[in-house]
Amino acid sequence: MSGEEFVPLSLTPLLIGTFAAIACALPGNFLVLRKQALIGDAISHVVLPGIVVAFILTGAISTWPMMLGAAGAAVVAVVMIEAIRRLGQIEPGAAMGVVFTTMFAAGVLLLEQTDTSTVHLDVEHALYGNLESLIWLDAVGWSSLLDLTALAGLPPELPRIAATLLGVTLFIWLFWRPLKISTFDEGFARTIGIRTGSLGFALVIVAAIAAVAAFDAVGSIIVIAMFICPPAAARMMTNRLETQIGWSVVFAVVSAVLGYVLAGYGPLWLGGADAVSAAGMIATVSGLILACAALWGPCKTRAGTPKVS
């Protein structure tokens, strides 16, 4: 494919898909190890009422109010989960289950009760996003990357997800040591002065920000898949956390690029006429990578925790 065709039509969706995948996979490593992997799933459910409320308040599909609404809903959910867990003294999974089904139901109720059915706020959009439409019409070829007027026409999702990825990376780089120690041994972490409660909360907030930014660009399917599949596959490639993070990034990139290409050209190769959803194909590829890692990964067998009387 020539630059004249590739840059305007494929470069930006590819980059957005890749950045979104990495931004979710990075915190996903810790969520999977903390057995909180479904929090990505939970977040993508609880943001719905926030998005609908933002729409009701502003009356338009505009990005910033909706992202703020989604972020607000995610924070409300995290606080509610913590409150129910502590006040009810029940396990976190149960508290999460109660909160995210309730909030998703509230979102659907709001969506049905208000006149949002006429606009582009529907289940399909929420699931698959609109990755293919995030094209860069001002570009004429590779030279446009140096052309300021053309760069001004970049889809706003690109700088947004890039900034999110940068923030996620900074957070993990800065708090690498406390994150690792408190994920492995929370009790010990507290005795050396790590504020494990605040740190765990911050991790969930960072994951929520990544989820909301990715959700905005590529839909919730990618969010759910990328929080779990690349980290879980990476875990089966190595027994070192540092290496695991590296593998998870590789798998996220491979999923995004391969998924995007397969969605665009796979059906044609098979004799079909139309392309399929890129987000759906990216999630599918990440699932296939996980399946391969589970079958052939060098560290797929678990030593098992020791039995203690």
């Binding site: 190890l33 040591r177 009790g187 050396i192 039995k307």
Partner: protein
């Protein structure tokens, strides 16, 4: 000399009536639900001693340690470490949690776990240098685990895992060592290795507190005991506080089973 030492550590003796004991607790109450797990417990750990915390299952032994260290919240009570607030003296404490409390499938190696003991020193972004590695290796050597340095922790036996945890505590270079059931489910060689390390710490003037469940070894291993059954039952030197009466008071009807265990163990 003693005063000088105390001054060097910035310890103000008798500042709050709890003295400069390595660990002094007053009126500690912890509750997980309706019933308190630990009720109004006082303890004054003797410096340079090896103290066993003993009591029946569910008596609050582990909870007492965890609450003292701020791992679980206490309903009430005052904790001082070397006569000071816990937060100010964290660098002088090393804690070894129960082995079963962590997931040993965590993707990390033996050396990485021991290096966690240096994290206060390293700070957030401090580089791990050769001298840090050398210290970690030395600690592994002291627990006889030098050959396992690059092993994934899940591939170790229970006893080996316990020794790695002890090596991590040694790396912290603390003055007060708190261990939660370090002998639970470990092999005889590990038990011997651990007790040798703990006795060496005591020789070096460190203070050791161990949550312990095996009544048969108390007199061999420890010089002080603290008996608990939700509330404090007895506290003091082994020969005074570890008697038939105090055990009866702590274990009640359950002592019979404990005694039978002891006898059957003695008979092999």
């Amino acid at each position: 000399m003693t005063l000088e030492l105390a001054a060097n550590h910035g310890v103000s003796v008798q500042e709050n009536g709890l003295g400069s004991s390595p660990l002094a607790i007053r009126g500690l109450t912890v509750s997980y639900g309706q019933k308190p797990a630990v009720f109004s417990v006082d303890i004054t750990v003797q410096p340079g001693a090896m103290t066993a915390i003993i009591g029946p299952n569910g008596a609050g032994k582990s909870t007492l340690l965890k609450a003292a260290l701020g791992i679980v919240p206490a309903l009430s009570g005052q904790v001082t470490v070397y006569g000071d607030a816990l937060e100010k003296q964290r660098a002088r404490i090393a804690y070894v949690p129960q082995r079963a409390s962590v997931d040993w499938d965590f993707p990390t190696r033996v050396i990485d776990v021991v290096l966690m003991g240096l994290s206060r020193e390293l700070g957030l972004l401090g580089r791990i240098r050769g001298r840090h590695r050398a210290r970690a290796m030395d600690c592994l050597n002291r627990v006889g685990m030098r050959d396992f340095v690059d092993r994934q922790i899940g591939q170790l036996s229970g006893g080996q895992q316990q020794r790695v945890f002890l090596a991590r505590a040694l790396a912290q270079g603390a003055d007060l060592y708190l261990l939660d059931e370090p002998f639970a489910g470990v092999d005889a060689a590990t038990e011997k290795a651990i007790i040798a390390v703990l006795k060496a710490l005591k020789e070096a003037g460190k203070t050791v507190v161990v949550v312990h469940h095996d009544l048969a070894t108390v007199t061999d291993y420890f010089d002080h005991v603290f008996l608990i059954n939700t509330s404090k039952v007895a506290e003091g030197p082994v020969e005074q506080a570890f008697t038939a009466e105090t055990l009866q008071a702590a274990y009640g009807g359950r002592l019979a089973t404990a005694q039978i265990d002891q006898i059957s163990r003695a008979l092999g």
